[in-house]
């Protein structure tokens, strides 16, 4: 009997040690996720990839010009086995860069939408859309070719991901050849990205399609401001509160 009690006590003690170890490991994981800017609220409300804190927090103020990042030209392989370069820097037009992956489930809606007329909803006037995946050592060219719309320029360029400091996919960057990056961020559907792009441009006073929406004055001072989401679009005050678009300028 005594031996059984001692044995059971030892088992309980061992289990207690294991439970404590597991709890500590769990705490370490949560701490690491917290450090990366992954918060339960962001994941729970939108399902979108939250922005790393280091990219949008108050510790990284925009440059004196009011622009966060300069434009970078794109060079990469095309899914059909060729190569292509797309000029961004110095041009007088806007380009929406869609950083997508063939393996991310969230990207599926974007591949579909960008291959349809929904692509024309891109705010910012006559902005072109360029899809950018990672290089062939990280993406299957045949998979990219299968998903890439034939009428949208698609490049495989990990360098572009680095140039634009893309944290993951899907991710969108609206860049102007002379003004630099004017909006960037992510969300779960194409419709929400368009909405957030419009909002980010409006908040930055950059909405270029007054004929199809409220005037800049209305947006900045009127009803649009009242209807503005509680989430912080600028992403500076509380980057963990919204994974979506940020506007610079």
């Amino acid at each position: 009997m005594t031996a059984a009690v001692i044995g059971l006590a030892m088992v309980v003690a061992l289990l207690a040690v294991l439970v404590v170890g597991l709890l500590r490991t769990h705490a370490d994981i949560l701490r690491s996720l917290h450090d990366l800017g992954v918060g339960e609220d962001a994941l729970g409300t939108t399902g979108a990839r939250p922005r790393p804190r280091g990219r949008s927090g108050p510790a990284l103020p925009p440059p004196a010009s009011g622009l966060r990042a300069g434009p970078h030209d794109l060079v990469g392989a095309t899914p059909d086995g060729g190569v292509a370069s797309v000029a961004i820097e110095g041009t007088v037009r806007s380009t929406l860069l869609a950083f997508l992956s063939t393996s991310c489930a969230t990207c599926a809606d974007f591949w579909r939408a960008l291959g349809s007329d929904e692509r024309r909803r891109v705010p910012g006037g006559d902005a072109d859309v360029v899809i950018v995946t990672r290089d062939a050592d990280e993406e299957s060219p045949s998979a990219v070719a299968r998903l890439a719309p034939t009428d949208v320029t698609t490049l495989m360029s990990s360098v572009a991901w680095d140039d634009y400091d893309v944290p993951g996919s899907p991710y969108f960057v609206l860049v102007h050849g002379q003004e630099g990056v004017i909006a960037e961020g992510t969300n779960t559907t194409w419709a929400s990205v368009v909405e957030l792009l419009e909002r980010a441009l409006a908040d930055g006073g950059l909405l270029l399609q007054p004929a199809e929406g409220p005037s800049r004055r209305e947006v900045l001072t009127g009803r649009r401001a009242v209807a503005r989401s509680d989430r912080v679009i600028g992403g500076v005050d509380d980057p963990a509160s919204d994974p979506a678009m940020t506007a610079d300028g």
């Binding site: 095309t78 086995g81 292509a84 370069s85 797309v86 000029a87 072109d128 719309p149 034939t150 949208v152």
Partner: protein, 172 residues
């Protein structure tokens, strides 16, 4: 911007230009000069290099269709297309090396599809044992010397490698 290199072609892309090098469709389009079509079953790996001082649409024909419509009066489009190796050195392709185009050769009637205010030209040549056509379109038809200089600047940067023995590219 940098250099693009693929399919045995290389080009230095000027700042602000779009460019691409891709393999053409298996069946060769009839070029303005009039060449035979590839027949069914022939193995073709014929590249086309396109460079434009404006945004190239994703879907651009070998001779710039769907792109020339976007051109402004300051713009130029340059296409370098390879044809069957069997034609290399033939009378049509007797010129050796990437040509320098002359302003006098540009004519609105030389375009694949006439667009008011634009003009174009083409020149056939052989380089690296390979047969090519250089086709250029200018966004305006008057005072074209500055635009011709842009075209020739681009063409002079084109490097054509000799095709390795046994590599696909001949329709023979």
């Amino acid at each position: 911007m940098g250099e693009l290199r693929a399919h045995g072609l290389a080009v230095a892309v000027p700042r602000g230009w779009d460019a691409r090098i891709r393999s053409r469709a298996s069946e060769v389009d009839q070029p303005p000069g009039g060449l035979r079509r590839a027949t069914a079953g022939e193995r073709m790996d014929l590249p086309v290099l396109q460079a434009a001082s404006f945004r190239l649409p994703a879907e651009t024909g070998d001779f710039g269709s769907d792109a020339v419509e976007r051109m402004g009066p300051e713009d130029v489009l340059v296409c370098v297309l390879e044809f069957d190796d069997a034609d290399a050195g033939s009378p049509l392709y007797r010129r050796s090396g990437v040509p320098r185009l002359q302003a006098a050769s540009f004519d609105p009637a030389s375009m694949q599809r006439t667009i008011a205010g634009q003009c174009g030209t083409q020149a056939f040549f052989t380089a690296g044992g390979r047969a090519f056509c250089a086709y250029a379109v200018l966004g305006r038809a008057r005072d074209i010397e500055p635009l011709v200089a842009k075209v020739n600047g681009l063409l002079q940067s084109v490097v054509i490698a000799a095709r390795p023995v046994g590599a696909p590219g001949s329709a023979r």
